[in-house]
């Protein structure tokens, strides 16, 4: 089943997680992840698996774009984890964007390139490497 979700992140502080994706109830595979600046702040950030197993928080579940039924799918967590994600030991991708609203980037992967186990380990995250803009973001995934 395909899912998508768009968010406006809340945390812009340096050395903190901007957005976490967590699988819920079943494994997920991420297909696309995109962000765009919502403030005119030059931003440097990285994408990778958290160094720990995050827990708690409020998971904003994605919309099932095929309009199928079923249990809640995976979703995003912007802040408020009881165990927040820590910095990835290795970033998959890093990026810097000049400070103008709307500057953005998106990443795409093939099906099953990235499999997120059902909340049993690290989560893919966007990590603020400096004081950044907040981001308009979207994620597309399959479960």
């Amino acid at each position: 089943m395909p899912y998508e979700r768009g968010d406006l992140t809340t945390t812009a502080t340096a050395a903190s997680v901007s957005e976490e994706f967590r699988a819920v109830g079943r494994d997920a595979t991420i297909l696309e992840w995109g962000i765009a600046l919502n403030a005119a702040t030059a931003s440097i950030f990285g994408l990778g698996l958290s160094g720990n197993t995050p827990a708690g928080g409020t998971v904003a579940v994605g919309a099932n774009t095929a309009r199928g039924g079923g249990a809640p799918g995976g979703g995003t967590i912007l802040s408020g984890q009881s165990t927040p994600p820590t910095i990835p030991s290795t970033f998959w991708r890093r990026y810097g964007l000049p400070g103008a609203i709307g500057n953005g980037v998106f990443w795409a992967w093939n099906l099953d390139d990235i499999i997120i186990p059902n909340a049993a380990g690290a989560s893919p995250i966007i990590w603020n490497l400096q004081l950044n803009s907040v981001f308009n973001s979207y994620i597309k995934w399959e479960e």
Binding site: T53, A55, V59, A60, N64, P72, A119, A120
Partner: protein
């Protein structure tokens, strides 16, 4: 599957007229097993978890388990109906 009262908070200060955070309460039904803690986690309908001023999904002040906010759309119709019934039953 009991009903729990949750306090949500929105910290998107720049989106609020007075620059202050917002708090509101909403009910969730414990209906999803958290794979890590093995505790039942509350599920809340998105419209209940939405900040009344900026429409941001708030953060629940709930440490016992993860809170899940499901979209209020057709694909979740059955779940939403059951959650609403449980809340009405708990309030009665």
């Amino acid at each position: 599957m009991s009903v729990v009262e949750l306090t949500f908070r929105c910290e998107r200060l720049t989106s609020h007229r007075d620059g202050q955070s917002r708090e509101w309460t909403a009910f969730g039904q414990e209906r999803v097993m958290d794979p890590l803690s093995q505790e039942f986690s509350p599920v809340v309908v998105a419209t209940d978890a939405m900040c009344p001023e900026c429409s941001n999904t708030g953060v629940a002040d709930y440490q016992a388990a993860t809170v899940y906010v499901i979209p209020a759309d057709e694909s979740n119709r059955e779940s939403i109906s059951q959650i609403r019934e449980a809340i009405e039953g708990a309030e009665a």
